[in-house]
Symmetry: C2
Subunit: 589 residues, 2 copies
Amino acid sequence: MLRTHHNGELRMTHLNQEVKLCGWVSRIRDKGGMVWIDLRDRYGITQLMFDESRTSKTILDQVRSLGREYVIAASGTVIERVAKNDKISTGEIEVLVTGLEILNAAKLPPFLIEDETDGGDDLRMKYRYLDLRRNPVRANLELRHRMAQETRKYLDAQQFLEVETPVLIKSTPEGARDFVVPSRMNQGEFYALPQSPQTFKQLLMVSGFDRYFQIVKCFRDEDLRADRQPEFTQIDCEMAFIEREDILGTFEGLVRHLFQHVKGYDIGEIIRMSYDDAMRYYGNDKPDIRFEMRIATLKGHDQDMTGGQGFPVFDGAETVLAIAATGCATYTRKQLDELTEWVKRPQLGMKGLVYARLEADGSIKSSVDKFYDEGALRSWATAAAAQPGDLILVLAGDEALTRKAMSELRLEMGNRLGLRNKDVYKALWVLDFPLLEWDEEGKRWNAMHHPFTSPRPEDLEKLFSDPGAVKANAYDMVLNGTEIGGGSIRIHDRNMQSQMFEALGFSPEEAEAKFGFLLSAFEYGAPPHGGIAFGFDRLCSLFGGSESIRDFIAFPKNNAGRDTMIDAPSAIDEKQMRELGLNGKTVKR
Amino acid sequence: MLRTHHNGELRMTHLNQEVKLCGWVSRIRDKGGMVWIDLRDRYGITQLMFDESRTSKTILDQVRSLGREYVIAASGTVIERVAKNDKISTGEIEVLVTGLEILNAAKLPPFLIEDETDGGDDLRMKYRYLDLRRNPVRANLELRHRMAQETRKYLDAQQFLEVETPVLIKSTPEGARDFVVPSRMNQGEFYALPQSPQTFKQLLMVSGFDRYFQIVKCFRDEDLRADRQPEFTQIDCEMAFIEREDILGTFEGLVRHLFQHVKGYDIGEIIRMSYDDAMRYYGNDKPDIRFEMRIATLKGHDQDMTGGQGFPVFDGAETVLAIAATGCATYTRKQLDELTEWVKRPQLGMKGLVYARLEADGSIKSSVDKFYDEGALRSWATAAAAQPGDLILVLAGDEALTRKAMSELRLEMGNRLGLRNKDVYKALWVLDFPLLEWDEEGKRWNAMHHPFTSPRPEDLEKLFSDPGAVKANAYDMVLNGTEIGGGSIRIHDRNMQSQMFEALGFSPEEAEAKFGFLLSAFEYGAPPHGGIAFGFDRLCSLFGGSESIRDFIAFPKNNAGRDTMIDAPSAIDEKQMRELGLNGKTVKR
């Protein structure tokens, strides 16, 4: 035993005990006659004390040779501090050191090992093992640990079985690109790394496993955007003999359990919203419902509150949308100009911004008074549920573009008004997604979720006649405007699955080559089943109040897919290439 | 809700309740006026009953259209059975069915879905999703689930943090071959799949994580022998600021916990044995200590109880070894001849077998009476701890070969005598392994565990002068003659690690290229640390009383590394090849 206690443990109850502690030298204060060291480990900080009148010269000499991040073992007596520190759990005591051993020296770290560091991203990634020493980074991974344990505890109690599915599987180039693994024993052939265990979990349902889960690594060879990782982790689940309602209930339960047991937070009601309503009222399929500010459609395909007044911008627009920004009627001309510039940025591409002030005294004035009388403006205010003091913001243009821009403007106003507090959590289910979406480039229909999602039975007849109108029996869970999980009731009938492949433009031969095993499995007694997968990295980052999933992954890769610490990927030996029957170019780095 | 209960749930307390059940048709008994169906799911079997006097004709017609493995939902009333079945938990009741829905039809399975099946290995692997429907196979995976949950529960309570380490890492061709993954974004470069998270867990110790664990997939591109899988699972653990004793205590605790909570079994004392003693007394480094029958060295480098009597076989042998087979003095000539043939098989390669009977009356007779008098034979009997009634078996020859053969003979006699009961478990630690082993082919020293294992401090000076004599601070846990886990106290000093790489024949440049990040990490304050990894597949198979790890993996690969169910590995598209900058041959299957 190199230590009797860790550094977060000692209290007044330990006074006068002989103890031995280990850790990293976090800070040294040398006041001449006395020296203090903050000794740090995962559990906390304990103050070591050295006193010329009580500490031997040998030890004092040793102490003065120490540097930051040295690893030491110190033995001594727990004494009461003269100046107590109520910021740390061990702040009432210190250890008067009588024995000191230097376990390892340390070079000066390339950046400060403090909560706020001076290290830039690149440096911190290269020395990730030092970055991980920082309390906030370690706290993120402790949170992740706790999330994983609580997830398992909940699902185990619900009779889910954790089953490991294979990592070396078969390439099915649907959706994202697969990472592939050349097979040495079967030259010219490749394994693929799973984008998800989708087909395996469905096979487990065919096998009668009834309830399956796994916290599992998945892989996508995508061009990385910020906050995408080539390997990521899912909470992957599937249930048999269930309907949508069973899934929603079970996984509301999971999210509720995690909030309760990891954060001591009551998530409250988890409302449900159709995809159509989400698009209509929030302009996207993952609405942030921490605040209202719903989008009102002043002009759309089934109504028009803007026409016939000779305002060419609205008259020529497919869609006119409004929101009521709470309490913003007092916005200055300058603020409004700035907001107008904001919506005109290329990312949003709006031509301009119309506004109307519903003053605190109830009067109403707009930037389009020339065209619209008070009655018209009041009808807009009513549509946008504006209250006296609110500012009504109106965008017009092409439906898809305008709705997306209004969604962004709504979120921006939410930010400006402080309505998107990261300590407040609101979750909802978004239901009834379209089954298919048109791929303009490929001139074909793609599955919006994946090809195993079942259509709503009542829409089935439209699969070939009106594919875009078919709704899927699919659901997403959305937390604070971020999709954290999604799933569907699956197809479990071989014929329906074959039809689905056909609707997606697979020839029967292609379908057989890629998914023959699944089609075959459906012939041997497949139960009705469905499931869901949560993005675990993202879920952890939301629980940790962070925007970045990278902060919640121990050893993440950068945007070029590289691990700069270990320098991967890298060239491999010629011999390895030959053994694999590969003949690619090799690079020297 | 497709069901109100599962099929292992209904009891006499549910009598007269209206219930709805789902599951697979396991068996149909049609007695004309009455039909019974065994309805099966993961939780059990419930008997459904159809009675011409009480069941509608429509339903009876439906029932008579059902086949084995059809998926149905049945609603009805719980009634008391006339003929109770005490073999199943629901055996006191049955359900009189009033409503029946066929959820899915099923083709006749290619083999029987019964505990004992008529399906061969190949067929069962191709239709693994049907094989998994069989109770014993599912029970294995339920055991595995339970093992994983209990492992996490124990380690979490011991303050271990579960940290996911990356799967896409860097190739370090040490030990087994790596699987590699071509990088599309960094063409000509490759990721490798980890053979273990070894370096990452050590970095986590440098980061101050203090206690780490992970139940993690690892990968080795080896030529597969029976019961080796290209992907396998480890319980991977590491601790900082510890000595060997801390590791042994912590992981004895884990194994004890698993036996207690998964099997309700008290594993008893876990003894410790040096590698040298294990080799001396059991002939291998993973002794089965469920039975004694220790090997006695009658002649070795430091003693000789066989010389000077003119027996050329022993006089010319490097080593003479004996065991006492309990109660086998009565073996017939025929049995002894058969045993002699057994040791002469090429796998063992012995020239012959000498024996001595210590009769029940205390007299002693041997096959070498011509050369050895009673005194000599009695000294052998004493050395082998033979009791009256035992048969002393003696092998002679080259040290390594003979000890290995005697180890096999001992295990064989243990089998024949029923001393290797798979319901009895005995575990031990084997300690103080050699640090290095001589690779005759490569003419170099290899690390017996891996290059990060620390030598015993007292042996350090022999690292270059007498490498073979250096013992490692390493330990294996052995259960019933199988290694279930192994680990070591690691090197945490940069200079010692560099020396170790040198002793293994790495040039400083090679060491830097492969492990520079670790050497660098050791300069920034690395704590003393050590760890262990358990083979999770193997551990589960031992708990399940099976020899085969494949029975405890949901979707295993065959000996050619193929998944015959999904048909992987397989050819990939030309387009994928081009995108990866690969130019290997492709095959058509």
